[in-house]
């Protein structure tokens, strides 16, 4: 007498149906999530022409309004930084008299390469990849890069 644990036909069908329905709905949920994921469009979020290299003087900060970023040029190269404060997303202006970025919302301070020098900001200003093609500076605003500190490798030679 082999008292094997067998599953009744009814139970098996029940589990099979239940599992299939759960799978269908799971699939739909994943599809829905994919559906509402952001898609990037043109304008801000694409590649933006900032200007000719010689338009950016060494040790100066220039704001490109259309791309929502700042171009900072040091002796070693160019860095493009998103104007969005890393604290709560306010637009940070460069304050020439103070020689630093000063956020009006909660007083976060950043230096010319975006490092935090004061205030509640948790990390430096995010950067955008810069490419220089035949003397023209192009900035790809689709991929803001978060960083924990400044490093000369973030500069693009100009």
């Amino acid at each position: 007498m082999s008292e094997k644990k067998t599953m009744s036909r009814r139970n098996f069908l029940g589990i099979a149906w239940g599992g299939s329905i759960a799978l269908v709905f799971g699939q739909a949920a994943v599809a829905l999530l994919k559906f509402i994921e952001p898609v990037s469009a043109g304008g801000f979020g694409g590649s933006i022409y900032a200007g000719k290299v010689e338009e950016f003087a060494i040790n100066s900060i220039n704001r490109i309004l259309a791309g929502r970023f700042f171009i900072s040029r040091t002796e070693d190269g160019i860095i493009a930084m998103w104007q969005k404060c890393t604290h709560l997303g306010c637009a940070v202006p460069w304050v020439e008299e103070e020689g630093q970025f000063h956020c009006p919302c909660h007083g976060s301070l950043y230096n010319e390469v975006g490092e935090v020098t004061g205030g509640p900001a948790p990390r430096p200003l995010d950067t955008f990849p810069v490419t220089i093609k035949s003397g023209e500076v192009w900035v790809d605003t689709s991929q803001p890069t978060e960083r924990s500190g400044f490093d000369p490798s973030q500069l693009t030679d100009a």
């Binding site: 509402i36 994921e37 952001p38 898609v39 990037s40 469009a41 801000f44 979020g45 929502r68 969005k84 604290h87 709560l88 997303g89 306010c90 919302c105 605003t141 803001p144």
Partner: protein, 247 residues
């Protein structure tokens, strides 16, 4: 005259509407409650204790009333609005300057939204301090907390729609807070805004959430909420005397 009234109230049409006589006797006063979909939110009889103003202050009912006002004024506002970055602000200006009673309609919607948040919070405090969350009302308390969060969501999504400086930066700051949630934070923010910053996609999404998804959720959960109040024996004020006997 009374003949005419008799004729109307005895006609087949009238009787197909109202399946009871004039509610001036116990039977018809019961039937008026049980046979009317809106009135049947209430039981046929109500305890005097739960009607005491000092007990509930009517806060739950007031929030439902304000939600009703917001639905109507919101629908009116939809006649003069389009959720596009180029036109939204212009529509608000048109509404305020050209449309008769437009400014009043917008004011009522705006102040009503603030009022609803306030009243719902006070309602929660009232329910807590009167101990009305106690069994068997645990689940309804949880539904209430979700309703509070939905109310905040409705108000927050509506805040962006005028597309002025106030709206833009409030939503920028508000959604940036969400991004600090570890792991899922930036995903949640992306799903809310539909892009890296507050823009057209965010406006479209907030509009859809504000006029459809969240109000539907509130309506659905409010039905559940009120139904549970009835099932659990009305307001907790009724439970004072029988509370101990169940132990």
């Amino acid at each position: 005259m009374s003949k005419l009234i008799d004729f109307v109230t005895n006609s087949r049409v009238w009787r197909s509407f109202f399946r009871h006589g004039w509610p001036d006797n116990p039977l018809d006063r019961s039937l008026v409650m049980t046979s009317n979909i809106f009135l049947h939110l209430h039981s046929v009889k109500t305890s005097r204790k739960s009607l005491k103003w000092s007990y509930s202050m009517g806060l739950g009912i007031i929030s439902a009333i304000v939600f009703g006002i917001l639905t109507i004024t919101g629908l009116m506002l939809m006649f003069y609005y389009a959720p596009t970055v180029e036109r939204a602000y212009g529509y608000i200006i048109t509404l305020q300057t050209l449309v008769p009673f437009g400014q009043l309609m917008r004011n009522m919607h705006r102040w009503g939204a603030h009022l609803m948040v306030l009243v719902v919070v006070l309602h929660m405090a009232r329910v807590f301090y009167t101990g009305a969350y106690k069994p068997p009302r645990e689940f309804n308390w949880v539904v209430g907390v979700v309703l509070l969060l939905l109310t905040l969501g409705a108000s927050f999504t509506g805040y962006l729609l005028p597309w002025d400086q106030l709206a833009y930066w409030a939503i920028t700051v508000g959604t940036s807070v969400a991004a600090y949630e570890p792991m899922m934070g930036s995903t949640i923010k992306g799903l809310m805004l539909g892009g890296p910053e507050v823009g057209q996609e965010a406006l479209t999404r907030f509009y859809a959430l504000h006029v459809m998804l969240i109000p539907m959720g509130i309506a659905l959960l409010t039905s559940l909420h009120i139904w549970r109040v009835r099932k659990d024996g009305g307001l907790a004020a009724n439970a004072v005397e029988d509370g101990g006997s169940d132990e």
